[in-house]
Symmetry: C4
Subunit: 211 residues, 4 copies
């Protein structure tokens, strides 16, 4: 099918964009551990829990978020193999917001989950979600982008997440810890891996979509 | 043999999962050096040994462990080339526990090998081993997973390791340094590279297994 | 066309050079966040802005610069697939200057944009631009380098940037903040992605250049 | 030539070993900048030179060394594409010694080039050179290793370097700075890229070696 191959040969390969993003995400996910504070007054379980417990929990939450972004990013570029300059910069824009997670997570941890740090963490989550949305839009405009649009369908999870982040930001003004609840809910929703793209990739040509 | 190629074409390629894991493992193995304390009271060999010696030895032990995990991970995905969402998350789960090594190794080092830090380090080793086991199980369930199951055989080393970690955790309550002995033993057992998969990969089709 | 393929098969593949460069750039872009100082006297928005605001802005500027270098590097090696020892070292020379960004950006931030740190930051930008120019020259001398030369054309942006960095260094002696203005201007100019190479790659064989 | 392809299809691909090594080397080369101390008493050029000058010079030296190891590693695996477990661990052994460079370089820097830190730095250089030698030996024993042996020839540079490191260690007991001179000499010798492998790779089949 030469007609199908022509658009695929144009533009730039996405492999290096994926490798660079993998590098940034791998570093973000790992350096957060460097920031975790250990007990300075002793070496017992109780002191570890007191000094490091909250940090470990917010680290786990942020690890899951970076993992979700990596997993979704991975699925995104399974379908689209050719990118242009707009996609490059939409991707860097996403990486910028993700690279701030170690900072906002550290502030949240140092403040023992105070109000303003919870709001800033929520704004970071929201900004990353918006950047991911813009990346999808940029990919839709590439020659093979329509395949991704078809694979994603209505993208209910993608549209629901920002709403929940906004709810979390509002709730943080009531009680800081309550502001993190929507973030945990979104993480759990996304932990169920995005089978839409997987299903799309697995469908052999000519086969009817299962729905 | 088209029948063999169809399952191989379904699902997602494992290459990006491998690249991301390589990135995380490379960072874990390298940033631990940032944590090592240098002598603050002088610049002699004796002071270096006093301030940094124990840290270097536990760094070496953890380096070997991350190296073993990388090597086994490498062998694992030599056989299985296609993964699904379950494998992605089982892999992230493994990376989470491995990413805690710089933290638990640092606490062990700062405490000069006290009891509770040794127990926590042992729990980290145990959790990583369990996560690796779950990753294998997730791969077994993929279309090409049965090949891996065949390649691994009885997996005696994989089943023995958690038992030894548990023994180490128990021994730490008797004497902290004794709790590290089983960890060293397991590392030495695994340093002999896993020739099972290698042998499996090397066997040409139609050739009889040498045993 | 065997005549075209012979030079392409000689020399070394550029893929590993790209992977290594991606790794270094990914780390540079990410570790700068580790250096950002958080407020030590409280957890309010005002204190965050006071302690971290300037750092965030210079981080953003440096992030954009590393992003530009990555994007241009990516485009560079889209055209040239074979490299020699001279290109390897010209590339390492570029990475050296880029690796100093976290240091010069940190000094700039800690000094709250004083004169000498602004000059040093400008010298770093200038040195990286010179190193990039030398890398291009090294690539021109490889068997497939003439294609890149053709794709780049007059390279107005590449020639203008060092002039603006020099202007910034001079302006810093008048007023430090003024020394950063040309750096911001250059970043904005480059944020428009380099369509020259993209256009060159997309042109099908036999097609006439659009100009 | 099926006879040539059979050994090439056995064993494991070297690509992931290269990717992992690239990651570790990229991190080593970059995190050293995090260790560099900035002036704490002011923001002038003089204070920067006083506080950071020596660190920058030893950083440059170590950067060049890691660059040399990356470049040589790159050349090594240009020829040999299949590896076994012995090569994996010989490679990890090399990475272990390279991963200590940020530590020994930091001690050298903090001591303002005192005797014992210079000796330790020299021992690190020596150990890395020995590990590289052992890696070559491990590769020689793989099915395609004889090609590398032929490509390397007498390997004069590889045999001379350890002798010079030993001389540097001895000289450090006379005067610390003198102990660094052989290290600088070796770096300069190696900066001339290793054209032997390049030449070997570029020779087309059937062509006579130029010598």
């Amino acid at each position: 099918m030469p007609a199908a191959r022509v658009p695929d040969d144009r533009g730039m390969q996405s492999s290096r964009l994926e490798a660079f993003s993998d590098g940034v995400l791998a570093i973000i996910i790992t350096i957060m551990v460097l920031e975790l504070k250990l007990p300075t007054d002793g070496h017992s379980f109780a002191q570890l829990w007191h000094a490091t417990g909250a940090g470990l929990l917010t680290y786990l939450l942020t690890f899951v978020y970076v993992g979700i972004y990596w997993s979704n990013h991975h699925h995104l570029f399974q379908v689209v193999r050719r990118v242009d300059g707009r996609v490059l910069w939409a991707n860097l824009h996403l990486l910028f917001w993700l690279s701030l997670f170690p900072l906002t997570q550290r502030w949240l941890d140092e403040s023992s989950i105070a109000r303003d740090p919870t709001v800033v963490y929520g704004v970071n989550l929201l900004a990353a979600a918006v950047a991911y949305f813009l990346l999808q839009q940029a990919i839709f405009r590439t020659p093979t982008g329509s395949e991704l649009r078809e694979a994603l369908g209505r993208d209910l999870k993608g549209k629901l997440s920002p709403v929940l982040y906004l709810a979390g930001i509002a709730l943080a003004f009531v009680a800081p810890w309550a502001g993190l609840v929507p973030a945990v809910v979104v993480a759990l929703v996304w932990l169920v891996p995005d089978r839409r793209v997987e299903r799309y990739v697995q469908r052999l040509p000519g086969e009817e979509p299962p729905k």
